[in-house]
Symmetry: C2
Subunit: 333 residues, 2 copies
């Protein structure tokens, strides 16, 4: 065990695009677990677009304030326990924050099974996979033959959403940035079509890719792409609102999408927001299904692992710029 | 029976606010029912904000085109029948259009019971009452103690929404234009509070009237009031999108409400559009409940009857300007 802990603090609340200077690498004393707590060694830190939203204001969690440890989910191993039910060697998921070691109360931990490779616990069997699963199936409720569109389609959630929609017999269109990602979606992941929002106006390209209109839109981005999809929804369509990454990094848009609420009425749409915790009770059944799909090869897992704790800020900045394919995480050591 | 029929045609598609010159009063031959049709004498013409939307473009129905008979719901009596199942004296609801007589296929008619006063068939037991009932109960799903906000609260639908929400044990806030209407909501209809959007910024006034936040918002207007409510919704709140009257008459807003979809995600809102036909199968049960509430006095019925067919255009223009309290209709003769 090293003598010191390494942490990234939020040095300053970003006022525009996130930069490395918004973070400060700090050496801190090794944390000591109190009664009811465990000491964790963090193996992998999960990077998520929502991390950026946390810096700006309270969301479904309190805001991360300048001067504090940066928050973030981590896959960690118990190395000392003062809590019943947890023993050395146990794997857990927790909001460890961006640090190499953490002491946390047992009630803040989710115990995880031993799975190979361990990284799947942060991707397809973690928040990303469960978010895709619940958002698509519980809110989108896709039926065979329907058209499903997903934005940020090459990302951790979107790449799984599209594959599950294919398993369910839908026509699947992904919206992503860049020809390479679009090729990857159609050639590697089996999407029926992909729209490159960087190369052409989205509305027209979507119309060509989804000629029967859109029945389910899984929204990860908000903004113009949300608006383009809204105008192409079919009657009784469903929009699962998972995130609004286009609004996280930089100045928030001064306006919302046109057609709200007029098109929602006329087309009788259901637009519903969610976060994965809302479906916690159904977690075990969902994981069993996801494991089955991965085992049979119906669902391919793509991960984007960045090596080295010191690269965590850069990894998040890159994620917000759309660098990653599949789930991005940092391998701490 | 007179020798001629009187009709209002849409003379020109309005490009801004609706004016009387957009209509033309036309004398037409008396219609003759064919086999399978009935001849109707129209007693009352229903005026609805949606009438204005129909002139602009296809909605849940095809657009009303310049030169054609203006569309609109009517309460009518069968005066001659060439259709099995319909006899002289039967009351029906149908899209008769703005005319004094109509010949329509039987399949386009909804037969109505004989109720006193007949006008209730267009208000509380008609589209307005059923729209309020289904939108509030099926989409809003209000629970005792929750806060319900309704816009266009003094209108045909809003005035019923608020009263049903009171019956369900909710705190009810109405948004309406003008102090008189607001007084009427609180003193006559039993609303807990009313916000006059013409006298003060809505956001602050709403905050005062709904200090615990909003659980259910029944939206009849869209635009700024929608946005103000969206920002004050509680987690897991429901927005029933019934209409967007602020957008119907005049140039449509170039932007949508801010906070879409970001706040929908963070607060896990459900925003759902509907029209009354979507709940047709549950109609009988709803009518029985509404009749019970009216009989016991739990639900007060307010109607705004304008006399004289020739006043129909003016009555609609006034409705769009917010003149009416409760359901507005024209008594044809």
């Amino acid at each position: 065990m090293p003598a010191t802990n390494r942490q990234f603090h939020l040095a300053a609340t970003p006022s525009g695009k996130l930069e490395e200077s918004n973070f400060r690498l700090v050496e801190a004393p090794m944390p000591e677990p109190q009664d009811g707590e465990v000491l964790l060694r963090v193996h992998y830190i999960s990077l998520d677009a929502a991390n950026r939203a946390w810096m700006q204001s309270a969301t479904y969690r309190s805001a991360v304030v300048a001067g504090e440890l940066m928050a973030g989910g981590g896959l960690a191993e118990v190395i000392a326990s003062k809590a019943p039910g947890f023993a050395e060697g146990d794997l857990v998921f927790a909001d460890t924050g961006w640090q190499t070691y953490a002491a946390l109360p047992a009630r803040h931990l989710t115990k995880l099974p031993a799975i190979e490779p361990m990284t799947h616990l942060l991707s397809v069997f973690g928040v990303a996979g469960l978010t895709a699963y619940f958002g698509l199936l519980e809110i989108g409720n896709p039926q065979p033959g329907e058209t499903v569109v997903v934005s940020a389609a090459a990302g951790s959630v979107g790449s799984i959403v599209g594959q599950i929609a294919k398993i369910k017999g839908c026509r699947v269109v992904g919206v992503a940035g860049g020809a390479e990602k679009c090729d990857w979606l159609t050639h590697e992941l089996g999407f029926d079509a992909a729209v490159d929002y960087k190369s052409a106006p989205v509305f027209k390209a979507l119309k060509a890719a989804a000629p029967q209109g859109i029945d389910v839109y899984f929204d990860n981005v908000g903004g113009d792409i949300f608006e383009a999809c809204l105008f192409q929804m079919n009657n009784f369509g469903r929009i699962a609102c998972c995130g609004a990454v286009s609004q996280y990094d930089g100045a928030p848009s001064p306006h919302g999408p046109r057609g709200v609420p007029g098109l929602i009425v006329v087309k009788r749409l259901t637009v519903r927001g969610f976060i994965v915790m809302d479906f916690y009770k159904q977690r075990d059944a969902a994981l069993a299904q996801l494991q089955d799909w991965v085992r049979t090869g119906a669902l391919k897992v793509h991960e984007d692992v960045i090596d080295g704790f010191e690269n965590t800020p850069r990894a998040l900045i890159g994620l917000l710029a759309g660098e990653n394919r599949g789930k991005r995480m940092v391998k701490v050591s």
